[in-house]
C-alpha cells in the first residue's frame, strides 16, 4: 500500500505532476434505455477532496457507482491513473479495488456479522495479519469514528447514524488511498458531522488519500472541498465544475447559485 506522507497534499499534485487519480471522459450514464446524464467530464487529482453535488435524485449515487466500477458506462470511460477499470486484466482490477474504500449511502454493513467482523473482513482477505493485530486495528478504526466499544454489536442493534460511521470505519480498514463517500454526514448530528469533516481532512493530509464525496451539506462543501462537479437533473448533464468557493463567487448559472446559497439568491 503506497502511503506517501506528504504534508500539505493540496500542493503535492503539482510536485508529482503525474496522471490524475481519476479521469472521467465523456461519460454517459443510463439505466437500460433511460439516459440519466450525458457528457460528464472531470478529473480528480491526487490529494483532492472532490465534491459531487446536485439536487436529490439527479444521479450522484449513480455517478459514484460508475466511479467504483459497479456500473459500466453506457458511453465514455473512466480512467484510474490512465487505466480503464473495465478493460483491465483481473489482477489489475483487484489491485485497484484494494486501493478504494467506499462508504455507501445506506452504510451497507454486512448484517450477519458484528461491527468488528465487518471491519476485519477486508483485513483478513488482503493481509496476513494475526487475529490479535486485526483486533487492534479494528478497535482503532472504530474509535476513529467515535464507536469505541461497539465491536460486538450487530448492524441491526445500532442507529442509522452509527451504521453510517461503522461503514466509514470499514471503508478505512485497508487504509485505501482513494475514498468514496456517499452522503457521509446525512443522519449525523452537527458535532459528529464536524468530526467527520476533520477526519476527511486528516486522512487527506496524513495518508495522502484522495477523497470523492457526495454531499448536500453546504457547510462541509465549503469547508473541505477543493474541487467539485455540479450535476443537473433538468439538463441531464454537469453544469458547473471547480472549487466550490470559487463557484459561489463567480458562477453565473442560476441553478448553481440557488443551490450554493440555499435558495437565498
Amino acid at each position: 500500500m503506497p502511503h506517501t506522507f506528504n504534508s500539505g497534499a493540496t500542493d503535492s499534485r503539482k510536485v508529482n505532476g503525474n496522471a490524475p487519480v481519476i479521469s472521467v471522459q465523456d461519460l454517459t450514464m443510463a439505466y437500460g434505455s433511460f439516459v440519466l446524464m450525458r457528457d460528464v467530464n472531470f478529473t480528480v487529482q491526487r490529494g483532492d477532496i472532490f465534491i459531487i453535488m446536485g439536487g436529490s435524485g439527479c444521479g450522484k449515487s449513480t455517478l459514484l457507482r460508475h466511479m467504483v466500477g459497479l456500473l459500466s458506462p453506457a458511453k465514455g470511460r473512466i480512467l484510474y491513473e490512465g487505466i480503464s477499470f473495465f478493460d483491465a486484466a483481473p489482477p489489475t482490477r483487484s489491485a485497484l479495488m484494494k486501493r478504494m474504500g467506499i462508504l455507501y449511502q445506506s452504510g451497507a454493513l454486512w448484517s450477519s456479522m458484528t461491527l468488528a467482523e465487518n471491519i476485519a473482513l477486508p483485513l483478513e482477505h488482503y493481509t496476513a495479519l494475526s487475529p490479535g493485530q486485526i483486533a487492534e486495528i479494528v478497535s482503532f478504526k472504530l474509535a476513529l469514528v467515535g464507536l469505541a466499544g461497539f465491536e460486538h454489536y450487530y448492524p441491526s442493534e445500532i442507529s442509522g447514524g452509527m451504521r453510517k460511521r461503522a461503514g466509514l470505519a470499514r471503508a478505512l480498514s485497508l487504509d485505501p488511498d482513494i475514498l468514496f463517500f456517499d452522503e457521509p454526514s446525512a443522519g449525523l448530528d452537527p458535532v459528529s458531522a464536524k468530526r467527520l469533516d476533520d477526519l476527511i481532512l486528516e486522512l487527506r493530509d496524513n495518508l495522502g488519500a484522495t477523497v470523492v464525496v457526495v454531499t448536500h451539506e453546504l457547510h462541509s462543501i465549503f469547508a473541505i472541498g477543493n474541487n467539485s462537479v455540479f450535476l443537473d437533473a433538468q439538463t441531464r448533464t454537469m453544469i458547473a465544475a471547480g472549487n466550490p468557493n470559487t463557484l459561489l463567487r463567480e458562477s453565473q448559472d442560476p441553478t448553481v447559485r440557488t443551490f450554493l446559497t440555499r435558495g437565498k439568491e
Binding site: G69, L70, L109
Partner: protein, 374 residues
Amino acid sequence: MEILHFDQISDDAAIVRLSGRWKTGPQLPSASELSGHLDQTPATRRLSFDTQGLTEWDTGLLSFLKSVMRECSARKIDVDRSGLAAGVRRLLDLAMAVPEKKDAHRSTKSESFLSRVGSETIAFIQSAGEMVAFVGAACSALGRLLLRRASFRTDEFKLLVQESGAQALPIVSLISFLVGLILAFIGILQLKLFGAQIYVADLVGIAMVREMGAIMTGIIIAGRTGAAFAAQLGTMQVNEEIDALTTLGISPMAFLVLPRMVSLTLMMPLLCLYANIMGILGGMMVAAGLHGIKPVSYFQRTAEAVGLNDLAIGLFMSIVFGILISLAGCMRGMQCGRSASAVGSATTSAVVTSIVAIIMATAMITVVCDVIGI
C-alpha cells in the same frame, strides 16, 4: 349558492369567481368544468380570479387551481393570480417551483397481445441465458474452492449447516411420517383384497426410499431453505451489501453462494435418509396399529424388499435436488431488484423454480433408471 362561477367580462377576458367552502370532498367541481367553459369561448386570452366570497379552503382549492393553471398554459391563456389570497399564491408557487419532469411518468399505454407474447419470450430466453451464466459462475467458484484458491468463512458455514440441516428436522419428520402413513393406509386397503397385507412393507419401503423420501424432502427444503436463501441474498442486494463485497474484490459467488450450495448439498442426503426412516415408521404405524402386522415382520419384509440400489437412487436424487434448490435460491436472490417488494418476488420465484426443477429432475432420473434397468 354555487361555489364556482364564470364571468365573461369581455370577448378575451374572463373572471373565475370562487365562493363558499372549498374543502376537499366530492362536492368540489373539477377543472373540466373550466375547459368546458373555455371551449365555448375560444377567444378568451386572460383569466383572473375573484375570491371575495371564499370562506374556507384546503388542498381541494389548491389542486383545482393547479389544474386550472395547467389547462391555461396549454391553451396559452394569461392567468392573473392577484385575485387569490397570498397564502394560496405562495403554496401554488411552491408546487410549481420544480417544473414537471416530462419523462418521469412511466408510459402506461397498453401493449398489443402479440408484442406482449414477444417480449415475454425474449425475457424468457434472457432469463435462461442468465441461468446458464449463473451455473457457470458457480461451477468456476467451486473449482477455485477445490483448488484452494478461495475460501469461505467457516463460522458462517457452520451456521448454514445448522440452519439447512438440523433445524429442518422437525418439519421433515412430520411430513415424511405422514406420507409413509398415507401410503400404507391406501396401499393396505387394496392389498387386503388379496390377503397380502404384509406386502405393504414393500410398497412403503420402496416408494419412500426410491422416490418419495427425496421428493418430499426436496419440496420441504425448497419452501424452507431455498426461500430463505433467496430472501437473505435479496435483502443483501437491497442494502448494497453485495456491492460492498464486490467493490472490495471479494466475489459474492465464493463468499455467499458457495457456502450455501455446499451446506445444502451435504445436508440433503442426510435429511433424505432421515425422511426414509420416518416414512417407513409411518407405514409400520398403520400396519401394526390398524391391521395387526407385527413390527418385527414388517421390518424384515422391508429389509428384504428394499435394495441397495433403491437407496442409492434416492440419495443421488436428493443430492441433485440439493444442488438445484440452492442454485435456484441463490440465483433468484442475486438477481433481486433494489426494493422490498423485489425480495418478495425473488423468494416466490426461487420456490417455483426449485419445485419445477425438482419435478423435472425426478422425471429424468426415473426414466434413465428405467432405461438402464436399475
